[in-house]
């Protein structure tokens, strides 16, 4: 059994501070810098983006799923970073060449992730702009039509 030493947990404390600071900083920054528009939606009570009143069986835009899937993909890549980080010190101890090799390898891995990220951005997966809004509106119309028991109108289908 090793002796308990508090200073060994210093990095964790640092991690806490950075995480807290990042979150707090973001909220603060948006409060200070961001412009504010008081719309009806925004003044609603916050319910994870859903209408607080009405049917619970409401459909999300497909965009949410897309983001979720992309998140999973990039998230899971991290598990390759962890074992690398664990053994890096030992490998690096074997000399400069080995250290560089192992380092470059991980950089290539990260670069590949970056390529994937750029691809996703360029393909418009994160595009919440005009086009996406139009699509969302068309979907909402189609939904409304269906709730009224009608066939979806043709222009909604085309959209």
């Amino acid at each position: 059994m090793q002796e308990f030493r508090l200073e060994a947990y210093l990095p964790i404390l640092l991690m806490f501070i950075v995480a807290l600071g990042f979150a707090a900083g973001n909220i603060l920054l948006s409060q200070l810098v961001g412009q504010r528009k008081q719309t009806r939606t925004k003044l609603m009570p916050y319910e994870c983006g859903k209408d607080p009143v009405g049917s619970a069986r409401e459909r999300f835009s497909v965009k949410f799923y897309l983001i979720a899937m992309i998140f999973i993909l990039f998230d899971i890549e991290v598990i390759f970073l962890v074992p690398w980080a664990v053994v890096f010190k030992q490998l690096a101890a074997q000399g400069a060449m080995m250290r560089n090799l192992v380092y470059v390898e991980m950089m290539i891995f990260v670069a590949l992730l970056l390529v994937g990220y750029i691809y996703v951005v360029k393909k418009g997966a994160f595009d919440w702009g005009e086009r996406a809004r139009r699509e969302a509106e068309a979907e909402a119309r189609a939904l409304k039509d269906m709730q009224k028991g009608r066939e979806p109108s043709t222009n909604a289908r085309a959209a």
Binding site: R59, M69, I76
Partner: protein
């Protein structure tokens, strides 16, 4: 507890039963076999694509359990490395699978996930 001890064929003759974290290795393997079987049966009998997909995930995770149990017992990394790869692959499959399912729903112009059982897989 002793009455429940099953003599698995892979327990060594005469030797004490191999243990992981104080529990017989056999139990881990039995659990993962059961989970895997549930997954297989689920894929076969379910008619809903999402459920089938979840059953497949169950199978993969049953395999992961086997790997981890062995790796822990052997004090070997290979099994754990395999688990990493399986997890990544499962995530990629999840993304692709959901993408395929969404594509189908769009073409069917149906919002209800249960409509996928028209396919009768």
């Amino acid at each position: 507890m002793t009455e429940l001890a099953i003599n698995f064929p892979f327990a060594l003759q005469g030797a004490p039963a191999p243990q992981v974290q104080g529990i017989d290795l056999s139990w881990y393997l039995a659990l993962s076999a059961v989970l895997f079987t549930i997954g297989v049966v689920g894929v076969i009998i379910k008619r809903n694509v999402i459920s089938m997909f979840m059953c497949i995930e169950l199978m993969l995770n049953a395999v992961n359990l086997t790997f981890v149990a062995f790796a822990s017992y052997f004090r070997d990394v290979t099994g754990q490395l395999f688990v990493f790869i399986v997890m990544t692959v499962a995530a990629a499959e999840a993304a692709v699978g959901l993408g395929i399912i969404i594509a189908i729903f769009r073409n069917r112009e149906s919002l209800d996930v249960d409509d996928a059982n028209i396919l009768k897989l």
